[in-house]
Symmetry: C2
């Protein structure tokens, strides 16, 4: 092991010269989302100084195949071996929801920075515990709410803050895709939940727009036979009579756009609102935000956009920051809080809800 | 009084010859909606055998002006005088919500058929009492849910019943117009309520599509300082995991379309969904349903469509029917029931809720 290769030991040092070491990503799981993440990353024309250094999967053959496709130098037998390796600096966690807590703990305890797919955890308690750990270790941790790093979202935020739409009073979001039959969505033991799979995008959107905590949450939904939510409607009421209505549906494809209504105007974040390439304003203005072409076919819509959160993570780590200002620990905790309350109201319970976390 | 002029005495007789007497409408109140109703009626190219025979308003000068504009032969000092007149057969009630119950009672007790603006009454108890009275008097009574008689709605109903959209599982409707400052909407003593003014259109739409009673109602809303609702979200859950999400907003103009999602396709009922002229299907089909041009400027959007319910009322009365199959008494009671439950959940209470009705 070359001592200089271990980036995480240098994360309080401001580095901006050309001799700096590349930041080395380790990919946890060879799942669909990991394929898209790496494809988006490697296809990005202006990647800068970071590399995909390793991949680990529960099935080593899948990891080997994944490494071949994406030209990744290191393959790890187990997640633990990757966590203990000096070949990676930051882990991207693409494993299933119920594994997030343990895997992230393991990587943090091994001194690695972490970008973890959403939902960060199954509930608030787990999320709070992870964040506490990351802070105590002085390591970067972020929930992979990639929407927040979409150029369209950033432009929308500017448009709102410049006051052109007036005060934002109402947001409606629809996210419906027929994925209720997929194991990861339908099985409770896999952390299944339309709310945690797609609903989280609608909640984070409302939170992104209103930049506040709701004062009232009203939710109702439909569960499958295993007690996992397939459909739900959530109303988040914020102070000042601001309101978000969120519709989540894992049985039907809905319009999948988000509308933001201000006292002076409105804007539609066009389908797919969770990583849009088009904003249509009420005054007729249309703004397009094109994505770079991917080298390989992708599993999820517009997921070349996954690269933007990777760039953010790299920037934050190089600056010695422990969280991103666009998706802070507090934001993740607020999201988890809302998800817990919605689950409570619609009657979805995880074993993890009965446990305590350090 | 010529005895043959009193149409209501003949309503059990099947009449279809050319010697039949014209059906004579009496307009109760010279309000905006009455102006639109009469304009729509008189502008319709193929009116057939019915006339606007009289108008009554609380302010006689308004009635005189109204009669002049619309060329109406009889002006009545009071609603009571019109109810007792032999010059009208059927009354159109365009008065304010809290007056509906007493006025409709009066006209029914005087032997007149009635078309009453929506909401039929302030609550279920009043509605039930009126319907009981109409039936006992063998007179026609209908709540003026004019949407139901829109050619676009009728076409949509056929499209659904022919199965092309599959099973309808989800409906979303938005109705938002900035009318919260208007007295009729904001003042409780005037029966004000965004729910009863515009929300009723969203509820009746869900009921029209699902043709069933909801098994669960979830509602939350925002009230003004006088305890009148301005904004609300209603989720109606029907058996078989069918769901309607309704958004009502008297402070903002929303998209004002309705989306109907079936297992095999979707359709958008374009703005204004409550009397649309355009249906857009998911497969790209677009159907237009043009309205006749009005002779005078109208107060409400697409309200030349008000004539279709008048044609229905006339047809039913001539057939001796006491209710229309497209907007039955049962449907009005179901609507009132849902409105009562929503008001209860969002905390809107009328004095009429504490009273009993015969």
């Amino acid at each position: 092991m070359e001592s200089g290769r271990q980036f995480s030991s240098r994360n309080n040092v401001h580095i901006n010269n050309k001799e700096e070491m590349p930041l080395r990503w380790g990919i946890v799981s060879a799942a669909k989302i990991s394929h898209d993440f790496v494809t988006a990353f490697n296809s990005f024309p202006d990647r800068g100084d970071a590399v995909i250094a390793g991949v680990a999967a529960r099935d080593k053959n899948r990891a080997i195949d994944f490494a071949k496709i994406h030209d990744i130098p290191h393959v790890f037998d187990t997640y633990e071996n990757m966590a203990n390796s000096s070949e990676i600096d930051v882990a991207y966690i693409g494993a299933l929801n119920p594994q997030h807590y343990d895997i992230v703990c393991m990587f943090l305890n091994s001194g690695k920075h972490v970008l973890c797919e959403k939902p960060l955890c199954l509930n608030y308690k787990q999320s709070k515990s992870l964040i506490k750990l990351a802070r105590s270790k002085k390591l970067f941790l972020m929930e992979a709410v990639w929407s927040r790093f979409s150029p369209a979202y950033i432009a929308l935020e500017k448009e709102i803050s410049n006051g052109k739409l007036g005060e934002i009073k109402y947001v409606d979001v629809e996210f419906g895709v027929p994925i209720a039959h997929q194991d990861r969505v339908s099985k409770k033991e896999l952390g299944g939940s339309a709310l945690l799979d797609i609903g989280i995008y609608t909640i984070q959107f409302a939170q992104y727009i209103f930049k506040d905590d709701p004062i009232k949450i009203t939710a109702c939904g439909e569960l499958n036979n295993g007690g996992v939510d397939e459909v739900s409607t959530i109303v988040l009421e914020y102070s000042g009579r601001r309101r978000a209505v969120l519709n989540i549906n894992a049985t039907l494809r809905l319009s999948n756009n988000a509308n933001v209504y201000g006292t002076h105007g409105r804007v539609t974040v066009e389908d797919p609102f969770h990583f849009p390439t088009k904003l249509t304003y009420g005054d007729g203005k249309v703004d397009n935000y094109l994505l770079h072409p991917p080298k390989f076919e992708l599993n999820f819509e517009n997921s070349t956009g996954l690269v933007y959160q990777a760039l953010e993570v790299e920037k934050c780590i190089r600056k010695g920051m422990l969280e991103s200002p666009r998706m802070t620990h507090k934001m993740s905790l607020n999201l988890a809080n809302i998800e817990d309350e919605v689950r409570k109201q619609i009657g979805v319970h995880f074993d993890a809800d009965d446990k305590d976390y350090p």
